[in-house]
Symmetry: C2
């Protein structure tokens, strides 16, 4: 099992494209993405738990209620959320896509991302659809990955290969992240494709279970988006025996999925709005997964800790503070804390109290662009990882004037 190129087009039978259709004013920014499978695929998705949901969420839920889909269409620049005609517009997006691609409108997964509460004009989407479909190709994941970006600064696409019953299978994914990222059951927008054959039920089970340890453990800013969705299509074109139970093949499939989602999560966290670095909190020694998870997420979500990481300040007091208010049942007098990066590891807190350390060495470690904060609760064997980024001037700049 290893990483390969090709993104969502790496698996057999998936074409993709991405164009500028005019939703965004900036003509150099693609704003409409399409992924189409050569045949109907098992489909599954998980969604935001925000009570305010983007209209596309409702339409996608309905469309894949039968467990199948054949295309994913997504615009950036407008979330189609809190609009009176939202569901109507999202439904039209599916119809226009289906007609142009020669598939059933009920087999379209639809998504929108961007500003909330501004009516989404269907005209540029309708006008751009012929070009979008004509540019579909088996080697064009990159344009789709670009078209779903909002304040993202880098495109996020990954693929892996794996073997099921002697058949080579592939899986690919693209994501948009950046801001309003604090997933709860689902997250930002992620589209995953695979040519492995798997039933819709098992596909959903694999996706849901993976998300608890991947997407649901990221936080950029504590804000759970209205439009979060992770969707996956499995078209079976690899020719493996279809996975319909939790057997060895299912294990292999979930490992491949975890390889994709971990890469996407790290990329999303590192490219958080205004971020200068990826920050990961590795918690070990928890008495159970819930405790370890709660501690890891509380540290990653702390504005004070995030600002300290921006300043490369080994302010471990803020780590302990965030653990203390997390709600997790821990013995704070047992906690060890250290920081790790490519420059090494430095221990800063033992048994809940400070220990002498070299500020110079700590600075050197924390000036790197990928930081791990290691928390050992010394109370059991459970561990968890949460991912986020630092809090910077640019986060404030980007969000101080996002709409205008």
């Amino acid at each position: 099992m290893q990483y390969i190129n090709g993104g969502v087009c790496a698996p057999k039978g998936f074409k993709a494209s991405g164009i500028h259709c005019g939703i965004r004013k900036n003509k150099t920014k693609r704003d409409l993405a399409l992924i189409v499978s050569d045949c109907k695929a098992s489909a599954a998705a998980i969604y935001t738990l925000n009570l305010v949901k983007g209209a596309p969420i409702y339409v996608t839920k309905d469309n894949i209620s039968d467990g199948f889909a054949q295309a994913m269409v997504c615009n950036s620049g407008n979330a189609n959320t809190c609009n009176a005609d939202g569901v109507e517009i999202a439904t039209k997006m599916c119809e226009i896509t289906a007609k142009a691609a020669g598939i059933d409108a009920k087999d379209v997964i639809v998504a929108s991302t961007g500003v909330i509460g501004q009516p989404l004009d269907i005209t540029p989407i309708a006008d751009g659809m012929p070009q979008l479909v004509s540019e579909l190709s088996y080697d064009n994941s990159i344009n789709a990955a670009e078209a779903i970006m909002t304040t993202d600064t880098v495109k996020k696409e990954f693929a892996v290969n794996f073997t099921l019953g002697g058949k080579e299978c592939k899986m690919g994914g693209i994501a948009k992240g950046s801001g309003m990222i604090h997933p709860n059951m689902a997250t930002m927008l992620v589209f995953i494709t695979t040519d492995a054959a798997i039933s819709s039920e098992l596909l959903h089970k694999a996706l849901y279970s993976d998300a608890q340890k991947s997407f649901n453990m990221i936080s950029i800013d504590g804000d759970t988006s209205t439009n979060d969705m992770v969707s996956v299509m499995a078209n079976g074109m690899a020719g493996n025996e279809i996975i319909t139970e939790e057997n060895e093949d299912f294990e292999v499939f979930t490992k491949a999925l975890a390889m994709i989602t971990e890469k996407l999560c790290r990329a999303i966290a590192k490219d958080g709005e205004g971020a200068t670095k990826l920050v990961e909190c590795f918690v070990s020694g928890g008495k159970d997964w819930h405790t370890a998870k709660t501690v890891a997420k509380s540290v990653i979500c702390s504005s004070l800790f995030k600002a300290a990481m921006f300043g490369a300040d080994a302010n471990w007091g803020r780590v302990l503070c965030a653990i203390g208010y997390s709600g997790a049942d821990v013995d704070v007098t047992k906690i060890d804390v250290s920081f790790t990066s490519e420059k090494g590891t430095i221990e800063v807190c033992k048994d809940g109290a400070g220990i002498p350390f070299s500020e110079e060495k700590a600075k050197e470690i924390l000036l790197c662009d990928e930081i791990k904060v290691n928390v050992n609760l010394k109370d059991g064997n459970a561990d968890a990882v949460a991912r986020g980024c630092d809090l910077t001037y640019d986060y404030v700049k980007i969000n101080g004037d996002y709409r205008t």
Copy 2:
């Protein structure tokens, strides 16, 4: 009942002082505060729920377990938290204070605020105590208010007068706020004095009940401090009949307390770290207090909403987003949102969807330094107010390098 001058020295029989003793390197910053009552006073306090608690919290809890106190001593520049010898040092602070002031060490409320995890040296406190006591005066609240400041930019002191059974009573309070402010049961550091006579039990009841609607509804950055404490001493020198039950006098007393705490809360929120403006979320039409409170706090805590307020951007989608993920059970299709400042009011969202509004007028309103965001849930009669501030470049700057 009206606001008067004098802070914690406004009530009869309270002296205060504040000096630079050397905990802080900057010699122009006072770092040690003392408030002493001429006689023993009923005392009550509420504390942070953070599992990591400053050592002074434990010592104060023990000292006022009998319901009485006579002095409050507080240093800034060091939180005396996560130190192996913390309780020992906090106990010594009480002993040194008591000896110099001629009172019982068990009658001292002790507090510390500043950086976590650095041993607190007792030497400058011991050396400074003679000066601190010699400068005690009935008209020196201002120096005590200054000495408890950390990253605060303005001192926070208020006082009111009121009448109980024909006797004039007074109440005063000082606070430090700024960062790591997201109180849970208690908050930052607040010291309140009154010359009204009230039993310790009723004093605690009044304080606890008030905090639910005042201090517990502030958030600067979502981080619940390790050292939060609100304490109050009532020395009875006004000569009113002691309040021992929830009668009319108790009502008057709680009103006076609410007048002090509301002023302190608004001052703390407006002076949040890096803040350029006070932001208050007024929620009405909630089906119950819990719902209204949850909605108000979620809006005030949203980093995206706070950044939008900094940019004077009427991005009401972020208000709806924060309501949607708050966990409150609301009908999002009923919600109205408007913004108010001294420049007027502008409605931006009706029944959960956007309405046309003048961006120019919205900008004018949001450029003021005190903003109200009004949320009507149209689902009942409960209301709630939460207070916070905007998220700014300076918040990041202050916290990117706090220790060094």
